[in-house]
Amino acid sequence: MASHKPPPPPPSPLMADNTNTNTNTNINSNSGEDKLIAVARHIAKTLGRTETMTDDILQIFSTFDGRFSREKLSDKVDADDPTAYAAFENALKSLDRRISHYVSSDHPIWYDSSDSAAFLDAIDELVATVRDWDHMSGDKPVAACLDRAEDLLQQAMFRLEDEFRLLIERSGEAFDLNQLNHHHHHHHKNNYSFDSDDQEGDDDEANFDEDEQSIPVARPLSDYDIVIDALPAGTISDLHGMAKRMVAAGFGKECAHVYSSCRRDFLEESVSRLGLQKLSIEDVQKMAWTDVEDEIERWAKAANVALRILFPSERRLCDRIFFGLSSAADLSFMEVCRGSTIQLLNFADAVAIGSRSPERLFKILDVFETLRDLMSEFESVFSDQYCAFLRNEAVTIWKRLGEAIRGIFMELENLIRRDPAKAAVPGGGRHPITRYVMNYLRAACGSRQTLEQVFNDNGVDYHRNADNPERALSSTSLSVQISWIMELLESNLEAKSKMYRDTALSSVFLMNNGRYIVQKVKDSELASLLGDDWIRKHTAKVRQCHTNYQRSSWGKVLAVLKLDSSSLAANGLAKSLRDKLKIFNSSFDELCRVQSNWVIEDDQLRMELQISVAGNLLPAYRSFLGRLQSAAELGRNAEKHIKYSLEDIEARTNGLFQGNGRK
């Protein structure tokens, strides 16, 4: 079956440039035009990814220059020429020899870059040859050759797939801390074309090590603005070369499958090395909250590393390996990231679904903020159509976390509302709930901006509005939420103040708690949330309690000291004054004894109260004493009825509210 003369059109003259092929001996070197036409035809074929595109390009050429007539450019083989298929046969024989040599090789072809280049060239020629002859498949001998060619192509593709897997798996192994294949890796290291330039770029960021290429994410990270090159540039371009051939030969699905399963394993391994466990919703619900908190910390780190480093790196890798093959790239990338992304999101979801007890707020805020801050990464890294659902999932779960946070505030409301008025705080002191709520809110305000976002996002909450019709009209922003909680706290404290039988003590209790609330508001973010009016109003309330206390506690004592004209009848004056003094002595004594056990927690408030008690009492007492001493019939005897000097009174009032009984 030797060919008598060179077959008409060369399969692909330019393909020969980088190979040592000897198949295109047919070019008439004397004919520049032949060469030109061959080049034009080749350009059209290379650029045209489909038959029609190639055709369009040929059409453009033919209108561009008379020499490029469609007839000349057409590489249609003359079917009547009996020698035509013999050329095919010959070409095939040569390709078979070249390809089979590699396909049957026991060593990876990509160990040696000249082997791999020769193998790819042979594949390219085979594909081109098949394309050249495909239209003649009606011709029986040609059809037989085409069958053989396709068979050969399939064998080459299997080998290519294995080589692709080997190359990409190798890179995964390189990141294995256990270095199970350490020896293997080292042995062949020099045979692989690691691009040393690329490695240098990694060194500062990724801590690549001669012996152990640990994953860069293992060290503490403050800056996420890095990209891992999981594979050296040389390997990437090798893989790209393989992927291009596989896609062109119709083996794109196989290629994408190998790619995504290898990279997915790599990614899942990386995520699990960040300490993230696979947990079901029920697992998270059953875990002790402190364990969940630890898990949340690990999760936040892992989510950041994944979205800011791992996924973008995968995206880049994918785009480079499938360069020019965008839909294969998008689909493969989604498959690589899907599992890890869902694992990350499922945990956040499980946290959102969990219990809403108020102490969880702060960690759930962390999860919310982490997702919020990663939202733009979700948008950018998952921007293509295949990843759209991951983007949507992220938004859904992020919103659910917002809902959980609002739920926690509702839970806080319930907690306040339900806090029973069981035992009164001795001495009218500050109630634990006041301290709890105020410190809680102050801490929560540390995340004020986040909370405002959470509450502004809130839709119409029909429950809340049903409970409190006024609020249906107002916005449900954070300040409204906080003042509502303050209202609940106050009414809870009001109820608790009723526990005291002594109304003066009730006032002291309200004063203590009110004063504390106002102070905690004043020196925190709460001040600006609740506003000046609120502070003014509540300061006035505390003052009102003060007045109430004065009146109900000291009113009667002052009344005793009051000297009106009717009681100054000359006759029984002395006796009357003596009696009044007696009453005063005993009630003052009693009040001081009782109220020294009461508590004013705030030093300044205590002093204010002591001063105001003394301030009210002393002038009245002084004038009473004056009256007493000037009463004629008492004379000097008056002194022996006076139990308390003015100094004594002041000293005793200074002993008020020391909380003696509490200790």
Binding site: S105, K278, E282, I353, R418
Partner: protein, 393 residues
Amino acid sequence: MPATDYQGSSVPFTSLGRSILSLRREQIHSMEGQSEASSQELELEAFQRKVSDCFHELSASVVSNGDDLLSVAWTRRLLDAFISCQEDFRAILFNNRGHILRPPMDRIVGEFFERSVKALDVCNAIRDGLELIRQWKKHLEIVLTALDSNQRALGEGHFRRAKKALTDLTIGMLDEKDSGSVLQHRNRSFGRNNVGRDPRQLGHFRSLSWSVSRNWSAARQLQSIANNLTPPRGNEIMATNGLAVAVFTMNSILLFVMWALVAAIPCQDRGLHVHFSVPRQFTWAVPILLLHDRIMDESKKRERRNSNGLLKEIHQIEKCARHLTELADSVHFPLTEEREAEVRQGVHDLAQVCDALKVGLNPLERQVRDVFHRILRSRTEGLDSLNRGQGPD
């Protein structure tokens, strides 16, 4: 899921045809002399009827066409039914939020929400399973490409390619525990020993890992949903104005639907032996028990016993793949016309399964997700009103 006789009830369920609710109403009416049913009673009865209708429809389609059972299309209808019942139930909870705060309703509803959470994990596992099927579909598509009917002629190369994809599919469809031995037999085109390698490498062939922990078990999850699920006692029905019946109904649907999903779709540690007692007096019990029995029968069939999902399309994949593998193993070249026709037919059947999956998988996955979201929303609402209600004031 055996039918049980109703026990421990002060309300006699003697009349099969009558609903428990109307029975209860008659009792009350005879005591109180009322003549009008309250809107709440009507709502609860409508719910029973709705559930009954939904599941009668589902079972009727299976009875008239046995092939329908656990097909992607039927499973989607099952989820539609679930969602529809779930929404009605959610409305009942909302309309009766005053009632659900009082014992024993608070406990009954609380237990229902506990079960819901367990169902959420099942939904997530099913989502993984659907992804796994999608992976299988990719191997099938390679088979279809290799043996494409537009191909000029089917050559050895095409069959080799198809066979390789079929082998990968078979490995992908094996349970994890079986995959090791097969892998050792897997041909590689050049010398590389798979034996004794990092077991992680299995992942490359297994094509997917689960998003739940290794010890998570669908069977255990179903059992824990079924745990202590008993029909309400007569006094509970009375004390809850019949609401306990609605909750039990929803519990039963939840369990059945989750069970059917686990039966149909691959997931970690599947197992269908769940104890579930439904008194036949509930009108919806009959179709549900019928479906249950049909599915159990299916799982016991010899050719399906080792299957990792009873989804009809999975069975078709298995059948088509086996048939094509046998053909590919036995063909000689050039192909006889008879053989070629056989192959074309096999490819045609496979293409049909692929189409059904292409059309059905994505909507099914969205639906599973929807079920997840709805269960969650209803639970959140319910827990909110339970919480709000408790308190001294």
